[in-house]
Symmetry: D2
Subunit: 382 residues, 4 copies
């Protein structure tokens, strides 16, 4: 075996650090390629945590300062899984050091940060990707394939929501480990950047750019104790964010994200209605795609529940046999596989940083609209 | 309006008396025909109950003796909705009096009674029908249409079950009003004649005759107080009845009925698997048909959930508009409509008494097999 | 039997005329009351159509001018099932004649008409009701019961949509029999008054008044041939209507209605998320209620699919037995039963005309917002 | 890191070889333990295939003769993933060499082989386990937990089926790579040992031993070309196998397995109905458990669709966050984790070889009954 190595430096050790590490470890077992990922170094400020993480996942070494990591000559790729307030500086430094850069979404805490990141990456000309992983759930990828085949005709409607219920308790603090998503200074925004960003990325991938939005947001629980300061502090994030949108293709949409929808843990749903067909998907049963084809004979026409586990469906020939489902984590494996395939083919895998910026612009228009109570035009990333 | 009248004499006033009366009253509103049903007389032993029933449903008169009813010259059709132990005598007398005869299922309490009934009806040459109403749930009728179109190829498997849970409590008495189905002397059998009979009728309609069966039955609660005697008496019915079957076309089947399946109120399900397609249905969502067509393109192949409410689907153009579902009671309306259509076309509506006898023969083979612990050959009705 | 009679005069003979007539005919069979509905007269401009309708449904007589109908002394109740542009004049005249008035929704083509109707009705002091029938689908009524029991705690979210696909073809004309809903002069608006009105009525019944809305509408097909003029004319209705809303209780909502959602025939869905529980329902499986109770033990907590067919659930003890579902038409039977019960108890059944006006105000705010591209405050009806 | 190593020798490189290798590689990332699995050697007769497999999965070395593998002193555990006709000899030799032995199911091709294997294992006193992996799908494990908590009361019914459709084409050959399951000499039986064995293992785990069975089997396609001989040869396996069963606790059951159920790829379903509650599960949506608790209040009683992804549900705290599902492959990871936990706790993980023998006895009774057309008593393994 004379594989090319792809030496990885990981920043962060939380939920996403685990999901990405698992993907990097598994990709070679299921998606043969010229490159082999080597887990070179894990980086976290706390040396003990970094070492424990490295031990669990098989990283060869640790760093406690990301600046050192990005300077290491034995690292090819920097993967940024640390909280949002660190994305910009790490990405810019990594790009400057000539590293490929993978970054958890959203890019920055706001478009200004994101624009700096895109500029740095593009100036450096390094390979880059943002972790909007849901594009690579096979059922969602199949939906994209159906769109690209022109099966839907003119599109009239799109709707998406991402419903969770984990912050309903007023006793939940904000800030600190596992809870930085409730701290606006770290996260940049609430569900808009965390959940809607996913919905928006998939939506524009499937249905093209958005033109304008009208939004409303709410912070249901106004004050929470802060894990870092120990004091009750004002909550700065949006707990819920809803918006109406018009796409460039003339279709209309509703979007909604919240962490106050009792009974839904991570219910990301999407639906697209076209003249000739419709398609729908949800994350709680992610291995199924619902598809309605109006050209089916009338008496036996109905929504098809497609169990996306067959070898002719996206990514599935690399896994098990028909009928045996894969899960959430596999979307990350696919993204790594595609990133590597992009390196080898010369056609970069999407979403790139510039694609991520497009999503950040929509998020920004949403937050602006919620504040202005006006329709806001969406800035275009390219 | 110069409609031909069809003067009805109803025997019984219970659950089925209501379901049938509703059907006779509604049929003309939705299914135009030359004949108009007239609710002529309701018959029950208790004059008060007969009158209350007649008042509620608009019957013109009452009788307290079915022998008088069948002799009345102003009656064209006798509908037998009284308990099973009365079916034979009423049917034979009605046929002898030249009346058309409709009979709730099963025909008799055993094949001997049923054979007498068939002989009487056929000798008299009167129109006749058994109320296996589930054939006329539009989704089930659609399944039959798909079978008749040859969409399935060679059939490999059939499976059906009818699950209820209403007799789990040992405190439930047997016998008397509403509970005669637990009294073997009145009912003839338990779930075999009550629930499996429905499954068997539909199965043979869709998949042809059965050849042989291997069965097991159980009476979970051995003794219950008897409503009529006031004493605790041995329970003679089968609480659960399961069997394996081989159809004449070579397909294999499982059948199961029980009143001890906690969580299921009236879950009649059926499924047929053919070489080229499969179909499934259940009574708890009776307006949907599940259909799988292997000739669909691979990447978008899946079970179709057909919402059977369109005008081109069986019976539905006579009801509302697409998307608006009908319910259980409508199957009876359809059966009346088809009975009348049969009178007018000269092609009798099925299932006839002879069709009902075929089902009774299967039920009998099931009970025999459960007793003999052997495979039993099914006697054929024609 | 010495029932009080309730003599009905029906205006209209279309889809709603049939649905209501069926309800009036059936109510006495299933919901015993002091009053008995008598189908006294059916009214339509075309005598032949009126007579055919009367024959089918058993109306005793016909009228060809609604002005005559409302003046007939033998009529107690006028039921308005004719197109929207006739509602105001008939209702006002009927009220002036001292008749009880039932009116299909929406009340008028716009709030001005609706206000006149409410004023007339209230001045006359006659019993009145608007046919927002979905309140009386048992699963929806059960949802209301759960709300009234306080099971949800603080409400955070409400969402509803009503999706159809029957006008996607550009070849469909506007205007005339069966198509007046596409003619803005007759209908007043498109999906806003036709479909959203249902969603809004249920929403305010379950979740209280709405405060403000931000909306967008679209007319996808700009011109259609007109059945009455024979010419291609501009389409004045809204094909799709989407809005964000804030309720008085602080909850946020998305609403959407369209006739361009391929694959959905009449998919009215609603969901309410509260602090302690959530509930969801849809019209395509109307006999089920989805319920999530956060107080359930964690390991077995999940959405409950409640098959609303038990005797202890709203309206169901009057129908069949557990497990046997009813359909769309039964919601109208329940509404008649409750109207009669209201007459007998002295507590009028809702929704009254004033309740209907509240819904019309929301619809008006939606249309205004779509035009102004601003949030619009909702006028309150009481 | 001072982990104890568990040196693995893998026999086989097919579907199961991949599934197990993946599990051995992942277990340490998600289930911390004292032992660390080391992929020491992969064994296959073809050196090229063995090396390719070793390269893909990271095995340190290869062997081309399992006899050499079981003799290697650096191997602690032998995992048998080769076809059924090799199980006995390898297991016996491995046990004799003092290795722990893991074996794919079923144990032998018939009870005689299985008994020899159990005897060898128990004589050697080595740790052992059979790969009935579905016990460790979290939803199934949760069902077992609910059973053990006594939530169901007296059990009345059990039903299971395993439906596939991959052998419907008569053009599919038997024998050779990927198709040995159609060759009776290699496999021992058809769907009985392949699919029903899974159903039986879970059933007895949840519902205790079976007493007697009545079965029917069918070979729909009588002859197929043989990949190894190149000739058309008689098909010796059962294509479909159905049986009725009585459990020791008095409950009745239907079981069915087939590879001729069009539309079902790997639809393993199970349901258990008890006096107080019921539970159901299926492999096509393996992350959900359906649960009905009769003690729920009547008006809101319904089947709960439990999305088994929460930290308090079996195995799930080791994976992602609530709402994010895992897939098929994770059941193997759990089995390895439990095997290791069993080594460390001294309480061996089930199912052991003796447990596997119990399932083989049921399979044998099924095949005997299909031949004898009699009820057959099930031999008990302990």
């Amino acid at each position: 075996m004379s594989k090319k190595t792809l030496n990885l430096g990981m920043v962060g050790y939380g939920f996403m650090g685990r999901a990405h590490s698992n993907a990097f470890r598994k990709v070679g077992n299921f998606f043969p390629a010229e490159h082999q990922v080597v887990l070179k170094a894990a980086c976290a400020r706390d040396a003990g945590k970094a070492q424990a993480f490295a031990d669990t996942w098989g990283y060869e070494s640790i760093e406690t300062d990301w600046r050192k990591l990005v300077e290491r000559p034995d690292i090819d790729v920097i993967d940024i899984c640390s909280p949002n307030d660190t994305h910009r500086d790490i990405a810019i430094a990594a790009a400057a050091a000539g590293k490929m850069v993978l970054c958890e979404k959203p890019l920055g805490r706001n478009p200004a940060e994101s624009e700096e990141m895109v500029a740095a990456i593009e100036k450096a000309g390094v390979a880059n990707m943002v972790w909007y992983n849901y594009r690579r759930v096979p059922a969602v990828t199949l939906a994209k394939q159906l769109v690209d085949e022109g099966r839907f005709g003119k599109i009239f409607h799109y709707r998406a929501k991402f419903l969770q219920d984990w912050t309903i308790s007023a006793d939940l603090p904000q800030g600190g480990a596992g809870l930085w998503r409730l701290d606006v200074n770290v996260a940049g925004s609430g569900v808009t950047g965390d959940l809607l960003a996913h919905c928006i990325d998939t939506a524009m991938w499937l249905n093209g750019p958005m033109v304008e939005v009208s939004a409303v947001t709410e912070t249901f629980i106004k004050e929470r104790s802060h894990s870092l300061t120990g004091k009750v502090e004002k909550v700065g994030i949006d707990d819920a964010s809803l918006f109406l949108a018009r796409f460039a293709n003339g279709s209309l949409a509703t979007f909604e994200a919240t962490r106050y929808a009792r009974g839904h843990k991570a219910l990301y749903t999407l639906e697209l209605n076209g003249e000739k067909a419709s398609v729908a998907w949800d994350l709680h049963d992610l291995h199924r795609l619902q598809y309605f084809d109006h050209s089916d004979q009338g008496i036996v026409r109905g929504w098809r529940s497609i169990h996306v586990t067959d070898g002719d469906q996206p990514y599935m020939k690399n896994w098990w046999v028909p009928g045996l489902q894969i899960g959430y984590e596999h979307s990350f494996v696919h993204q790594v596989a595609d990133f590597i395939a992009g390196l080898e083919s010369g056609v970069p895998a999407a979403p790139t940083f510039r694609d991520g910026l497009a999503t950040d612009y929509v998020c920004d228009a949403v937050l602006k609209s919620a504040a202005s109570r006006q329709w806001e035009t969406v800035k275009q990333a390219s």
